[in-house]
């Protein structure tokens, strides 16, 4: 038991080292090249500064990377998260909406439905989206990318139908608190991420779920033979991923005070996957680190903010992100090839993947 713990610890240390290193490199660069990057001011009792801004902006991505980690750990992938984000944002925006009402000459913003109900409906819709993915992938055994592709294509259409093609603006003050409010000097959304992360960490570290998930991702067939309910675990992963996307959608809608079904969360699935890969997780499934992915999300956001701040056209971010993934993958595959002596055993699903064998 003792030795296993030590080994686990070493592995986690190992896995978190690179994302932290990448983050440190970016921050050091920012420290030298961007003036006042580390400055944190207190304005009206709130902390302001680039660092706070990065964490705040990264919250939707952090949520999605948490969900994506679980899905990727199970050996799948969920590319529908961007569309689910759009759906959840659209539902919240249209249900809260907000009318301008004058009571005794004073402006009041009134929500169409109570905010709690709107948020609940949006989250339920997001979880249903996740369960739909689960149905296709866990139950029917469709390839994960293809299965989630359906919701990716349909989701945006559904979101557009909900908002009827308009950008819905929300006029309801309390709703903005989620995305841009401050609590004890820090943005409120940071607390949301922290709470959710704690919940997921408890789930994967203190319950058997994490162990089952790792087993499932490493080898589906033998997990099945061991008596694990493989399908149930997969359903859970996709449902959690949907939930994460739903929460992210609400945060985004609250941040920009509107819902744009066309552009909300466009390409965010790629950022989420990038975060997971940056977090040192193998795309082949198996061993995973949720914390690593959250750090990965921070790296992605820091990278984006840095590129904006340096003054390079923002579109270059795409090229840089792509090159980063390629480099990481090259390292992963190099390491994999060293340990994996047999050539090219990666045919078909569930086969030995290079990245997996690096331990």
């Amino acid at each position: 038991m003792e030795s296993r713990k030590k080994m686990d610890k070493r592995l986690i240390d190992n896995q978190l080292f690179w994302p932290l290193f990448a983050l440190a490199v970016l921050l050091v660069f920012d420290f030298f090249y961007l003036k006042g990057f580390f400055q944190i001011e207190i304005v009206e009792g709130h902390l302001y500064g680039s660092l706070i801004d990065i964490v705040n902006r990264a919250t939707p991505l952090m949520f999605m990377s948490i969900g994506m980690t679980l899905v990727i750990a199970s050996g799948g992938i969920d590319i529908s998260v961007g569309s689910v984000l759009a759906i959840s944002g659209a539902i919240t925006a249209i249900m809260i909406g907000g009318d301008l009402v004058f009571v005794d000459g004073v402006q009041h913003h009134v929500a169409h439905y109570p905010m709690a109900v709107a948020i609940l409906v949006a989250l339920v819709a997001a979880v249903v989206g996740g369960l739909w993915n689960g149905l296709l992938i866990a139950k029917l055994g469709v390839n994960a990318m293809v299965g989630t592709l359906i919701l990716l294509v349909a989701g945006r259409g559904i979101a557009q139908l909900i908002v009827d093609g308009n950008v819905i603006t929300v006029y309801y003050e309390p709703f903005f608190y989620i995305g841009s409010g401050f609590f004890l000097g820090l943005p409120f959304s940071i607390y949301l991420v922290a709470a959710f992360l704690a919940l997921i960490m408890w789930l994967v570290k203190k319950t058997a779920f994490g162990l089952f998930l790792e087993a499932l991702g490493s080898n589906r067939v033998s997990s099945r033979f061991t008596g694990l309910n493989v399908q149930k675990i997969m359903w859970a992963c996709y449902a959690i991923s949907g939930l994460c996307a739903g929460i992210a959608g609400i945060i985004v809608a609250s941040e920009v005070k509107s819902a744009d079904a066309n552009n909300a969360g466009l390409f965010i699935e790629l950022d989420a996957i990038l975060s997971v890969v940056l977090g040192g997780n193998s795309m082949a499934g198996g061993r995973f680190s949720v914390i690593g992915s959250v750090i990965g999300a921070l790296v992605v956001q820091t990278l984006t903010t840095t590129i904006y701040a340096v003054g390079v056209p923002p579109e270059v971010t795409m090229v840089v992100k792509a090159l980063v993934v390629i480099v990481i993958y090259l390292i992963q595959s190099q390491m994999g090839m060293k340990t994996l002596k047999t050539p090219a055993a990666s045919a078909g699903e569930g086969a030995l993947k290079a990245g997996e064998a690096k331990s």
Binding site: G141, V142, V146, L151, I158, L270, E315, V316, I326, S333
Partner: protein, 333 residues
């Protein structure tokens, strides 16, 4: 036994063709003016570039991979063409050549990463998509019009087939490429190797097929074809913009799947993609004729069809596998 296998191979394709005819019949009955040659030809005119990438997508999927970069490569090709015509004042032929070289290079690098560096095709082509879109904006962030006389002539020329029905030059290009692809996929060593690798890469390797070379070549061909589609796209739009052909790769994948190509690789017909595209097109036309439906219904309808076809495929595969081995079905996935 052999007869049976061929039958099940043709089933998705036949369903697709039947569905296309059914949709067309439904449209003809419901809407005035739907039953005309021009409606059918317009499907080709408006989707020529999609047909072209649908073909290459089908071939890559048959290989057991996927190519997500094709939409971005189309945007990049139009940008490269516009840039080399307007800024570098290149001859149109050279501009076309430049486009094809750039796109083939993209395809080659992706193929190399996938084959020799063991990237997942999904990741490698996703990176390619990012780089291509990023490059578009690095060349120019605005819409660039294409005013070159050759491109304009190609774009505006209409060839009359019968009175009242005409096609554009793009359609002819697309049809030539369809013929080429059918030849490549079904009548060459390369095509047979692609099917073999998609069926089982390891067996293909053990059989002595040039697996690595075929894979790199297939992705290079896919890049090259995306370049061709990009040029046809130029003829269609006569302008270039970095966000053009957004999410086109999804339409191409959907076309291939609806056309009966199995996502697991090894099974399918490139010609199926043409019908896949035609079905997507005819649904768009139906929704336009209907008039009071939002265009977003098209996406939902495409997704629905995609879903149905994937489930049908899955059932077919499960049945076949169940026949082959005495093993509980749920272990196979």
């Amino acid at each position: 036994m052999k007869n049976l296998q061929i039958n099940s191979k043709f089933v998705p394709l036949l369903i697709t063709i039947g569905l296309f005819l059914a949709l067309f019949a439904a449209g003809s009955v419901s809407y005035e003016g739907f039953f005309s040659m021009q409606v059918v030809l317009n499907l080709l005119v408006d989707n020529a570039f999609l047909i072209i990438v649908g073909l290459s997508q089908a071939l890559v999927i048959i290989l057991g991979g996927i190519d997500l970069s094709c939409g971005a490569l189309i945007a990049l090709s139009s940008m490269v063409a516009a840039y080399s015509l307007s800024h570098l004042n290149l001859h149109p032929a050279l501009a076309v050549l430049a486009v094809l070289i750039v796109c083939s290079a993209f395809g080659f690098v992706q193929g190399w990463l996938i084959t020799y560096r063991k990237f997942q095709p999904f990741i490698a082509t996703l990176c390619g998509m990012f780089v291509a879109r990023g490059l578009c904006f690095m060349i120019n962030q605005d819409t660039v019009p294409i005013t070159d006389p050759f491109f304009v002539t190609m774009a505006t020329t209409r060839i009359k087939l019968i009175p009242g029905a005409a096609i554009s030059t793009s359609v002819i290009i697309a049809l030539v490429i369809v013929a080429l692809y059918i030849y490549i996929a079904h009548f060459t060593k390369f095509g047979r190797a692609v099917y073999a690798i998609g069926g089982n890469e390891q067996s293909a390797r053990l059989m002595g097929l040039p697996v690595d070379r075929t894979k790199v070549l297939a992705y290079t061909l896919s890049g090259f074809t995306s370049g061709l589609a990009g040029i046809v796209f130029c003829f269609y739009m006569l302008s270039a913009y970095g966000l053009n052909a957004m999410a086109l790769e999804m339409d191409a994948i959907a076309a291939a799947v609806i056309g009966g190509t199995l996502m697991t690789g090894g099974v399918g017909f490139v010609i199926g993609s043409v019908f896949g595209v035609m079905i997507e097109g005819i649904m768009q036309t139906l929704i336009t004729f209907q008039g009071d439906l939002n265009s977003w219904w098209t996406r939902i309808a495409v997704a629905f069809l995609l879903c149905v076809f994937i489930v049908v495929q899955r059932v077919l595969v499960l049945k076949r596998e169940a026949k082959k081995r005495i093993r509980p079905v749920e272990f196979i996935a």
